[in-house]
Each structure stands twice: as structure tokens, then as C-alpha cells.
């Protein structure tokens, strides 16, 4: 029986604003799962708190909706317990680059086999529009009549500099490309980070679909670009900064780096999952190690 979109939906409907990019991101994710033939009961989505996480009720997969800024840490734990599952961490730019920055850094470094979808709408939306590190400078925001006094964080360069094993950028207004990228991210063994420019017609009106259309360059259109080269990736991001363009597609991929789990001496050669191993354990042989 072929899987269909409805198998990935619950009976609850989304509550996002009309025109919100979150709709497309969810649909793309579900499509990616379908196309990869991953059943709803083989996937776990770890949701964050934010508008992005407000879609948690609408999915038909396993799901965990935890705390603001923490969906990556939860997803990491999920993955380690059962690597048979496809694990997605859904998070906003606020949760990802503010409250939970350390989880992002460490998930990349540890190279857990999870896929991180950053719903980057360039503001804290659910708390009604505060500035994040990605909010355009000078823009008047909640409680900041003169805009944020902070420097922006160049999040793409920040991520790339951590040597992620998979890093892509996408746009919620291009669901086909987004679906493809999510698929690649899921297929990649290791930590896949996808920074998705997500439209937010409520708090980021300036960036209309038209604006995105004018400012996005798809890497497909640059056939000479190779995502295997860190150098090329760095250069691309520099060009992006200089020209103020957004490049979407797979920016960088490195398949040579093992995951955290694969680095574990104690788990070498073991095929069962931690989740399957819980039972009484005879500790007699261990007594010789005490008081050491």
C-alpha cells in the first residue's frame, strides 16, 4: 500500500497565519518521508516551542514536543536510543541560535544521525516579533523602537565553520526543492542541518515571496558548484554576503566523518539498539572493578 500525505497527518489542523511558510515546510517534510518510503511509525519529529512547533499536533508520526530551544538535544537522545528511526529536529531561529545555540554546535560536532530543520523566519514569532540574530539590522522590533543594538550572527558561516557533515539552505516558497533537500538530509548519515528561509507574513512582511524570488539563487543553476569542497562552500557564503543573495541547495556535504555512535568503542559490532536492550543484567562480573 503506497503511503500518502494523509498518513502523515493527524486529525488536527494547523493554526499558522495564512501565507505562513511553516505550511510548506511541513508538507515538504511529509513528502520527503513518503518518497523515502519511511512510514509514520518509523519517524520521530522533535518539536520546539515557537510558531514552528505549533504544527506538532498535525503530524501522524511519532513526535515529541519539548521545551523552547531544546528540540535538537531531545532529537539527539532519541537517535542514540534507536537508530532505526528517522529523527527530525524542528526548530526556529530563536530557539536554534539563542536559547539552544550550544545544542546546535554540539549536535553538529557529534555528528548524530539526525536532520535539523531550521524554520528561519528571522524573528521570535510566537512571542510576537522580537529580534533574533537574523533579523535585519535597523528593523524596528518588539521593545526595540530603534531596532536591535546587536550585531547579526552570520548563521550560515557559523554553521559551516563547525564542519557539518551536511549543510543545506532552502526556502519555504520552493517546496519541490525543499522536499528534495530534506530527502537528501535524511539520507545523509550524520547530522544534516537545513537552514530554511521561512516566510512570515506577519512579522517579516518585508521579505515577500517576490523579495525571495529576486534574492534567491538555486545552486542547481550553478552546475560547476560542488558541495564536496569546504573551500568552495566558504567562498559561496562569502559571495552570498557580498552580493546579499541567498543560495539554496546543498552547500556542503562530507561523508567521511563517522557519527558519534560509530565512534563508540563500547558499541562496536553491536547490532541491537539501546531501546531494545533493557533487561536485567547480571553484575557479578563487574564486582572486580569496584573500589578501583
Amino acid at each position: 500500500m503506497a503511503l500518502e500525505l494523509k498518513d502523515y497527518n493527524s486529525t488536527t489542523l494547523p493554526t499558522w497565519c495564512p501565507g505562513c511558510g511553516n505550511f510548506a515546510i511541513h508538507t515538504a517534510l511529509k513528502k520527503a518521508l513518503i518518497e523515502l518510503n519511511i512510514e509514520p511509525s518509523e519517524a520521530l519529529i522533535s518539536f520546539d516551542i515557537g510558531c514552528n512547533g505549533n504544527g506538532a499536533d498535525t503530524v501522524g508520526t511519532y513526535a515529541f514536543k519539548g521545551l523552547h530551544g531544546r528540540s535538537i538535544a531531545v532529537a539527539s537522545g532519541v537517535h542514540l536510543a534507536n537508530r532505526k528511526f528517522t529523527v527530525i529536529a524542528d526548530i526556529g531561529d530563536g530557539g536554534c541560535f539563542h536559547e539552544g545555540l550550544d545544542h546546535l554546535v554540539n549536535a553538529i560536532k557529534s555528528n548524530y544521525d539526525i536532520t535539523i530543520l531550521i524554520h528561519n523566519n528571522q524573528n521570535f514569532a510566537l512571542t510576537t516579533g522580537q529580534a533574533t540574530v537574523t533579523t535585519p539590522k535597523g528593523k524596528k522590533m518588539y521593545a526595540q523602537p530603534h531596532g536591535s543594538p546587536e550585531r547579526n550572527l552570520d548563521v550560515d558561516s557559523f554553521i559551516l565553520n563547525l564542519h557539518p557533515t551536511f549543510f543545506a539552505k532552502a526556502y519555504s516558497g520552493d517546496p519541490l526543492q525543499l522536499t528534495e533537500i530534506i530527502k537528501k538530509g535524511i539520507q545523509h548519515k550524520g547530522c544534516s542541518v537545513i537552514n530554511i528561509s521561512q516566510s512570515c507574513p506577519t512579522y517579516n512582511r518585508e521579505m515577500t515571496p517576490q523579495w525571495f524570488k529576486e534574492n534567491i539563487i538555486k545552486l542547481d543553476t550553478l552546475p560547476e558548484y560542488s558541495s564536496n569542497s569546504m573551500e568552495a562552500a566558504k567562498e559561496l557564503l562569502e559571495t552570498a554576503n557580498k552580493t546579499k543573495k541567498i543560495y539554496t541547495g546543498i552547500i556542503f556535504q562530507d561523508t567521511t566523518i563517522p557519527t558519534f555512535y560509530d565512534n563508540l568503542h563500547s558499541r562496536k559490532g553491536i547490532i541491537s539498539e539501546l531501546a531494545e536492550e533493557v533487561k536485567e543484567y547480571n553484575i557479578k562480573e563487574l564486582l572486580k572493578y569496584t573500589n578501583s
Binding site: 506538532a56 499536533d57 515529541f64 514536543k65 537522545g77 536510543a81 531501546a275 569496584t290 573500589n291
Partner: protein, 565 residues
């Protein structure tokens, strides 16, 4: 005989090797078949300062230290000055080094108590015996062994066994032991009144409280450990890390405590068992996750290894001042279970129970331990039997089905089983967010019922000793050990042991109180936190409180002093 025991204490700087020599002595006494209780005190620095390693020996199980010592072996001048007043009458000082000038008070103390001082240049002795510098410590051991009037061959055997696998010159090692044992400065009057009990030559199990927690976790099916270094919790990670090749578990040193707790939440949701351990400040950081586990009904087990003080406090000295935060930390109303261990036996048993409770009741469980329990080396004949792993898993229509017991079906996420969402939002039976008043009320009441169900399952606190004892101490954690040791020296006292702190049962307590017994709250914290919880639950107010909050555990003497004051 002093508190039915013999006490040997090593004092010196951190990094001088007193832990090594203390451990060797403990092991050698163990080889004799004696019971020991070894306890370390040390400042939070790597080298220098004053640290101690004290071994109490007896023919029965012994779980607390005496305040006084028969033999004090010091490796630094400062240690001598620090611990000299701990000596018993006829006590012995073995000072490793040159003669030291005592001040007037010390002189008087020494004379009055007939204390004998031996100055022993152990390095010199070692070198003369053909050993190397590091063998100085076995020289000291040999000397002490002589005072203890034990067979030197047993000591030699044990030391060599301990050094097995290390590159050492066996003959030199032996020679050094013998050189200490037969050092000319020894005289018959040393330790005349010291007599070790007759021995079984049956080895005991020796382990720290933290090792017992780790073993309990493993026995209970734990397959991963996530943590961030914080004394006195970290040695759990050490034991699990160093045995991982054998147990095949996953040990993850996370980037901080928040991550460790959240990863555990994710892994426990998926159906494995993860142990997490931390201390005060790290625990604070985990409380948001605790609250999340509470409302999302995700099992979670966190060991809270207490030390004394707010903030950084007095690292790393003992205390039990985190009972309040364990029972009330994390925002909002949510069910949780708080368990307090007191020694290696309870550590082993209750850690297994903690996971069964967490799984079955789908809530966070906090295991309270203390530096005193975590790092002291206990000896016991055997650990309690392994418990059955009880996961309480079942499938059902809704993950958060409203039930009378409060317990809803929970199944391990598995391909082919109905997917569900676990959520920190208040939710309906199927886990979807709700702000409908009745639904909010009903679901939070369902969760609260789990506490009632759990309360029925857990036992009343156990009374150690007779209901008719002259005084009944009420407490949790390591206070038990000092009281029971005092009891076993002949005091007509009893101890009501709170292992389960939340839910809190007060039936036995109130019954004892009604009898008009002398009830004494005993706690290793400043405000009597367990007493406060008891009063909150049943209005019972302790008239007598024995509180200690200077970083030291209760010594057996503290109990006797209190009773006799």
C-alpha cells in the same frame, strides 16, 4: 573499645598519595575478612591543602566514621596540626618526615592523652631497602600493619595483587613493606590497646556508594549514561565509562547538564533506560526538563549527588541540603518521585526501583545521594538480589488515556505501532494541545492521581530498632549510618528511615509520635528540609532537631554526644 572499632587515619596534601595508601590498607583489612568503612575528606584543589583518608575497622558491617582515631599517619605538617586532636587516648601518630614542633596546646594534649609520636622518613627507609621513592607508602603500610599486629605476608600478598599488571619491582616492593613492618623505631607499647577482631578471612565486597548506584543501574537494564562532570556525581560516569567495553553501554559526556537531561528525555521516550547524575548547580539547570518530563509523562531518572551549600558551596564536602529543590524544583504542579539512598545496599536496590517507578508511573524520579555516600568505601557481605525489570508498557487507544490510577498506556515507539505525540503542552488524551478548561483540569488531575497510586505502592519508612527505644531519630540518607552505628554500640535508640521522600508517607511516624516517643529529626542541612516536608504533609512538628551543616557527615560520636548532652 572506642565505638567497637579501630580507626586509622591518613592525613596529607591532595596529590600526596593518601588515597592510594588508604585504599591499600582498606583492601588489606578486607583480605583479613574484616568490615571497613573508609571515608575521604579533601578540598577542591588538585594538589596541596589538607586531605584525609580514614579507615574504620570492625567485625560487623559499619557504615559511618568515628570522629576519633587510634592511629594517625600524616604526610604533611599541616595535616598533623589539623588532625592531632582527633586522636584517642594512647593514640599513635606516625609522621612521615622530620620531627615537628608542637605548640603548647598540642603538647599538653599529647601528654594528657599519652599519645606516642613516631617520626618515620619513609622515603629514606624505602630507598635503603632497595626500593624507589614511590614505595614510601608501603613502608608506612608495613609500619601500621605491625601496630595492628597482623601477619605481614597477608599485607604483602594484597599489595602485590593490587599492583598486578603494573610494572613494578616485586622484590623491592616486598622489601619495603618488610622494612616498614620491622622498622627499629617500633616498640611494643605502641597500640597496646589496639586489637583487631578475629577475622573470617572471607573477603567482603568493597565499593563506593556511586559504584553501587552504577551497578544498580546496570542491573536494572540501564543502557546509557549522559552527564557533565560534577563532583561528587562524576565517579558514576567513571565506573560506567571504564566498564563500558564489558557492559556495552553508551557513555556520553554531554556539553552541559541541560543537554544531558534532555538527551535522556529523548532516549527514555524511545524506550531505553538512561542514567543521569549531577550535583546541586547542575541539577538546577535540569529542573526545566524535569517539569517537562512531568507533564509529558516521560520517564526520567536523575541522581542528585548532594554536597553542602548554595552556589558552589563547600566543594566537595558533604551535606543533604537539596531535598527541597528535589521535591519542589521545576515550575508548575507535576508528579515526581524522590528517593533517598543511604549506603551501597540501598543504592543498589533503589536505583533499580527508581527505573521501575519511572517507567511504570511515567514520571521523573530523583535519586538523592550525598558526597558522604557517593565516595565513601563501604564493605558488605553481599548486595541485595537483583530486582525484576518492570516497565509497565502496554498499548492502548490513546497515549494519555484518562484512567482511574492515573497511569495511561505507554508503548515503545516501534515500527508498526500507532504513533503518538508526547508533549509539554497540556493536552487531550491523544496528546494534542488544549486550552479547554475542562480538558486542562481533567488531564492534570489524571497525572496527580499517579502520585496517589504510587503512594500506595511504596512502603512506609522502616524503623530500625525497637518502637520502645528511648529515642527515635527520623531522617534520610547517610544520617542512618551514624545512628545505626551508635545503636550497635549499645545505645537504646531507633531510626526511622525515609527512603521514599516523595510521595511521603507519615503513618508510621505519626503512630510513633502518638506514643509520646522522643522524636529527633536528624539532617545534614541547615533548615531541616525533610522535617519541613513532613510538617507540610501532616502538620507534625519536630520539637528536637539535630542538624549539621558544616560539610561534615554525622559521626557516630555526634549521636552519642547529642544523647548525652
Amino acid at each position: 573499645m572506642y565505638l567497637s572499632r579501630t580507626v586509622i587515619k591518613f592525613g596529607g596534601e591532595s596529590g600526596q598519595g593518601i588515597n592510594t595508601v588508604g585504599r591499600m590498607l582498606t583492601q588489606s583489612l578486607n583480605r583479613l575478612g574484616l568490615f571497613t568503612f573508609s571515608n575521604r575528606e579533601y578540598p577542591s584543589l588538585i594538589k596541596g591543602g589538607v586531605a584525609s583518608y580514614q579507615v574504620d575497622v570492625r567485625d560487623k558491617e559499619i557504615y559511618a566514621s568515628g570522629k576519633k582515631t587510634n592511629i594517625l599517619c600524616t604526610l604533611s605538617e599541616k595535616a598533623l596540626h589539623t588532625y592531632i586532636y582527633d586522636l584517642l587516648e594512647n593514640g599513635i601518630i606516625i609522621h612521615d618526615g622530620n620531627e615537628i614542633e608542637l605548640n603548647q596546646d598540642e603538647e599538653i594534649f599529647v601528654q594528657k592523652n599519652n599519645i606516642q609520636i613516631i617520626y618515620l622518613d619513609s622515603v629514606k627507609v624505602a630507598l635503603e631497602a632497595g626500593g624507589i621513592e614511590i614505595m614510601a607508602n608501603v613502608v608506612l603500610l608495613g609500619y601500621i600493619w605491625k601496630i595492628l599486629k597482623q601477619d605481614v605476608n597477608i599485607l604483602i600478598e594484597e599489595v602485590l595483587e593490587l599492583l598486578e599488571g603494573k610494572k613494578i619491582d616485586i622484590e623491592a616492593e616486598k622489601a619495603c613493606i618488610v622494612a616498614g613492618y620491622s622498622h627499629p623505631s617500633y616498640r611494643n607499647t605502641l597500640g597496646e590497646d589496639i586489637e583487631l577482631p578475629s577475622k573470617s578471612l572471607q573477603r567482603k565486597l568493597l565499593m563506593t556508594g556511586n559504584e553501587a548506584v552504577a551497578l544498580g543501574a546496570l542491573a536494572g537494564g540501564v543502557r546509557a549514561y549522559y552527564g557533565y562532570p560534577m563532583t561528587p556525581a562524576t565517579s558514576i560516569q567513571k565506573f560506567l565509562g571504564e566498564t563500558a567495553d564489558e557492559t556495552k553501554i553508551l557513555v556520553k559526556q554531554a556539553e552541559n547538564e541541560i543537554t544531558a537531561a534532555l538527551m535522556a528525555l529523548g532516549s527514555m521516550y524511545m524506550g531505553t533506560r538512561v542514567l543521569v547524575a549531577t550535583s546541586g548547580g547542575g541539577f538546577d539547570l535540569m529542573t526545566e526538563t524535569l517539569s517537562c518530563a512531568g507533564i509529558s509523562e516521560t520517564p526520567l531518572v536523575i541522581v542528585l549527588a548532594q554536597r553542602i551549600g548554595a552556589g558552589t558551596g563547600v566543594p566537595t564536602w558533604t551535606g543533604s541540603g537539596d531535598i527541597s529543590v528535589a521535591t519542589k524544583g521545576g515550575h508548575g504542579d507535576y508528579p515526581r518521585c524522590v528517593i533517598s539512598i543511604s549506603d551501597i545496599n540501598s543504592a543498589f536496590e533503589l536505583t533499580q526501583k527508581a527505573f521501575n517507578i519511572a517507567d511504570k508511573y511515567q514520571l521523573p524520579v530523583i535519586i538523592l545521594t550525598e558526597k558522604q555516600i557517593a565516595e565513601s568505601i563501604y564493605s558488605t557481605s553481599s548486595l541485595p538480589p537483583i530486582q525484576k525489570v518492570d516497565r509497565g508498557l502496554s498499548t492502548g487507544e490513546f497515549r494519555y488515556q484518562i484512567t482511574e490510577s492515573g497511569i495511561s498506556p505507554r508503548w515503545m515507539p516501534t515500527k508498526g505501532l500507532k504513533p503518538y505525540i508526547s508533549t509539554s503542552d497540556e493536552h487531550t488524551e491523544n496528546g494534542h494541545s488544549t486550552d479547554v478548561a475542562d480538558e486542562v483540569k481533567e488531564m492534570s488531575e489524571k497525572r496527580a492521581r499517579k502520585m496517589q497510586t504510587l503512594e500506595q505502592e511504596i512502603p512506609e519508612p522502616i524503623l530500625f530498632g525497637s518502637e520502645n527505644a528511648e529515642a527515635i531519630f527520623i531522617g534520610s540518607g547517610s544520617t542512618k549510618n551514624a545512628v545505626l552505628d551508635a545503636q550497635s554500640t549499645g545505645e537504646n535508640i531507633a531510626y526511622l528511615s525515609y527512603e521514599y521522600i516523595l510521595p511521603l508517607k507519615t503513618g508510621t511516624l505519626l503512630k510513633l509520635a502518638e506514643k509520646g516517643k522522643r522524636m529527633i529529626l536528624i539532617e545534614n542541612n541547615q533548615t531541616g528540609q525533610l522535617g519541613n516536608l513532613i510538617r507540610e504533609k501532616c502538620s507534625y512538628e519536630f520539637k528536637e532537631k539535630l542538624l549539621k551543616y558544616d560539610g561534615r557527615p554525622f559521626f557516630v560520636d555526634d549521636i552519642l554526644d547529642y544523647l548525652n548532652k
